[in-house]
Amino acid sequence: MTTRLLMFVTLFLFQHVAIVAQTNISQNKIVSGNIEYSVIIDGIETLENEKDHAAKAMLKKVAVYMEATTFTLLFNDFSSIFKSNPQAMMSDSDNEISKKIANAFIKVDNIYYSNILKNEYLKIIEIEGEPYIVTLDNHNKDWIITQEKKMILGYECVKAYKTITEYNSIKNEIREFVKQVWFAPNIPFPYGPAELNGLPGVILEGNITDKVFLKASNINLSDSKIEVENTFIGKKISEEKYKTLMLNIKKNNRK
């Protein structure tokens, strides 16, 4: 009887401690985090229906490169950094064009930094071998938060979206895109992958296109502070100047 009582008390205490620990780490005591994101391609099986065999082979390699890439979001209470993790080497030179396309598509070389105290949002990028620090306008004010919810790695996430338009100079047309994200209110920091941020919870899933997503694959939260690197080297330019620079590069390349 005594043994059974002891087991019951031990089990009760264990459960209580576990619940208290989870509550503390998931609501009040989080001061930093490290979240890994994987690339998910929705409907990748449709590639099998591609009739152009050469294009199919190339795009399959692009998909392999994309899916082999992971990213890390590191954050503390006032800043965050998002960048890719070193890729597994695939040295076949025939794959190089596929790798370039994959890397451009999911922006492997970009680093994103945010400091919410300074209202500073930076994109660190290399253009024609030169490092640039692009100061991004804060586009993340126009989110529409829905009632839709789903679980990601044990965290309840809420769906939000916004519509953006972008002029495409090659196609000479204005294109419209819907940015859709899922954020976790129980991780109450306004950070997320790439340029996605500004919601009352860390974004655990967000789309790059309507078929390619970044989705959290591992979440580590901590009650101790971590430093977020913010020593970047490069020429600082505005987002507007960055767009002009890219346009000029395109014009020069086509001459």
Partner: protein, 67 residues
């Protein structure tokens, strides 16, 4: 779409058999077609810079393959 089938097939021949004269290849058209295929399977590319880079990579790839 026919262009891409012919040209891309020729690239396979190029890498497999060395040099084949591809001076007549329209690389701009090839890049457009390939981008359409990419967007069909991976979704529309949102930002202009990514679209430009991808276009350039394919265009350069075509140019180098066509000698």
């Amino acid at each position: 779409m026919k262009n891409i089938i012919i040209i891309a097939t020729t690239f396979i021949c190029t890498s497999a058999f060395g040099s084949i004269n591809l001076h007549t290849v329209d690389c701009e058209m090839y890049a457009y077609d390939m981008l359409d295929v990419i967007e069909t399977h991976f979704g529309a590319i949102e930002d202009c810079a990514t679209y430009e880079f991808t276009f350039s990579f394919i265009h350069d790839f075509c140019m180098s393959a066509s000698g």
